[in-house]
């Protein structure tokens, strides 16, 4: 197939596939903790890191990762201070991230590079970025597998998890770092503005059909892989932006699942 004749497309498929394995794993826990918007807040904060990286001439992905980690711990800290309105912490950090990114972007000389982070540039991944994404992804995936039970129990009920011996604070801190690094590497590829959709949409699809927690995790990974690969194919042949196409493929699939499920439910009732 001609699409794989190009080095940049092969790289895009490899990076897209790797990200599709880890993003929904993190997304499942985020959705179950009712923190779906955290991806948005972190990705906007990552833009501030990208701008800072470009100004200081350090790799913008590293800048994004650093900003995301700071933002994620900021959200946790605010969440603990105002537990009754914990979702406010996401809005505060998101506003701060947008504000800082807006101010710092004024000092960035190469605005094209900065703009590529807004909607992603999966087809313009460098060798360093590909290895960086692969390394981070391996770390996230291994951590997710090792902490599978702890993350599930903490998402279900933190107090019960603590009583049964789960080191909740440590698990939450590790998960915060995992979320931050996942968002920062995903922001580079699918774009900061749509990374949270990549976290939530595959999980939303799998929750419609999953019959257990394990299935929900596995199906969300499966959906993410399908959306990413089909999104890349569609974007290549239709000449569309890959990041947006991947997310729109997912949203369309979610709508279809909901419609089919509703129709099937109606048929069963009749």
């Amino acid at each position: 197939m001609s699409i794989f004749e190009f080095e940049f497309m092969r790289r895009a498929f490899i990076v897209g596939f790797i990200l599709a394995l880890i993003v929904p794993c993190i997304g499942t826990i985020i959705v179950l903790k009712r923190l779906s918007m955290i991806g948005d807040a972190l990705s906007h904060a990552s833009l501030a890191g990208v701008a800072a990286g470009l100004i200081l001439s350090i790799n913008p992905v590293l800048g994004a990762a650093f900003a995301c980690i700071l933002a994620a711990f900021g959200i946790e800290a605010i969440r603990k201070k105002i537990p009754k309105f914990s979702e406010m912490s996401i809005a505060i950090i998101m506003s701060a991230g947008i504000g800082l990114a807006g101010v710092l972007s004024g000092f960035v000389k190469n605005t094209a590079n900065f703009n590529s982070f807004l909607f992603g540039s999966i087809v313009a991944i460098s060798d360093f970025e590909m290895y960086f994404v692969a390394g981070i992804s391996l770390l996230v995936l291994l951590s997710f597998i090792v902490l599978y039970r702890e993350l599930c129990y903490t998402a279900f009920d933190e107090l019960s998890a603590r009583l049964s011996g789960v080191p909740v604070k440590t698990v939450n801190s590790i998960f915060t770092v995992l979320t931050a690094v996942t968002v920062s590497v995903a922001a580079r590829t699918v774009g900061a503005l749509i990374v949270s959709s990549m976290m939530v949409v595959p999980v939303a699809c799998s929750m419609q059909i999953g019959k257990s927690y394990r299935q929900t995790v596995l199906y969300s990974v499966m959906f993410a892989v399908i959306f990413t690969l089909s999104g890349l194919f569609i974007s290549y042949y239709a000449g569309l932006k890959p990041g947006g196409t991947i997310v729109l493929t997912g949203v369309l699939c979610l709508l279809l699942i909901i419609i089919i499920k509703k129709a099937a439910g109606r048929t069963v009732r009749q």
Binding site: L32, V146, R149, E150, C152, Y153, A155, F156, D157, L159, S160, A161, R162, L163, S164, G165, V166, P167, M207, G210, K211, S212, Y213, R214, T216
Partner: protein, 249 residues
């Protein structure tokens, strides 16, 4: 008689407003206690203090003979939270997966449950009469069934003390009755010490051996006769009793 919980001179206030004032009580092994009181009387605060979820401001609590500040054996305590069923409703996990979560207390970090522990989870579901629902999503169950699964989850960890925060909220009268019967059976047959917050004292009184009532910051132990008198008045003057309840709410 072994003392499971001893609380002494506990005072607690939110933003300067006292909720609990110089409260003291003790719980013995094998007790089945109902804690009742009007909304805002500090029942949930007292439970959070016993669980170490909020810090003591004054007084002290001993759990299994150890001061709560130094207490490390939390897996000895099982907890069924208030609105646990509402929270569980949207969680995409089967009853068995939920119950198996609490096997953690017996195996810990980086160690996977053995076959014997998995059997514990199966038996816990059987004990609460939910073995036929083990593969069903928790969200697809009724409130009463979900609450049974929550209890099975706690039992899988083999606790010595079970704390329940309003376990019958949001479930119908028949399911509530059968839940009390289940708790009573666990208390009798497994010698499980149970402390349960409830508004439904009239029904719960038939199953518990002690009733503690929180009122205006202090705690009093209600005698069975007092509860029966209250029940009598409820039957005799349902309207007045309902009005009294409204005042409490």
């Amino acid at each position: 008689m072994e003392t499971v919980i001893k609380a002494q001179d506990i005072s607690f206030s939110y933003g300067g407003e006292p909720i609990l004032y110089n409260i003291g009580f003790s719980v013995n092994k094998g007790d089945f206690i109902a804690v009742t009181g009007a909304n805002g009387s500090g029942k949930s605060t007292l439970m959070k203090l016993m669980l170490g979820e909020i810090q003591l401001q004054r007084g002290n609590i001993w759990l299994f003979g150890t001061e709560i500040r130094n207490f490390k054996h939390w897996p000895k305590i099982g907890y069924v939270p208030q609105n646990g069923t509402a929270r569980a409703g949207g969680f995409p996990a089967t009853a068995l997966e939920i119950v198996r979560l609490n096997l953690y207390s017996n195996c810990g970090l980086m160690r996977f449950p053995t076959k014997a522990l998995y059997k514990n989870a199966d038996e816990a579901l059987k004990l609460v009469g939910m073995q036929d629902y083990s593969k069903r999503l928790i969200g697809d169950m009724s409130g009463g069934q979900q609450q049974r699964v929550m209890i099975a989850r706690v039992l899988a960890g083999e606790p010595e003390l079970m704390l329940l925060d309003e376990p019958t909220t949001g479930i119908d009268a028949e399911s509530a009755q059968s839940l009390y019967m289940l708790l009573s059976k666990l208390n009798r047959e497994r010698k499980l010490t149970i402390i349960m917050i409830t508004h439904d004292i009239a029904r719960a009184a038939d199953y518990v051996n002690r009733t503690l009532c929180l009122e205006e910051g202090s705690i009093v132990e209600l005698m069975r006769e007092q509860i029966l008198t209250e029940q009598y008045h409820r039957h005799k003057h349902p309207q007045r009793s309902a009005e009294n309840n409204d005042e409490h709410i």
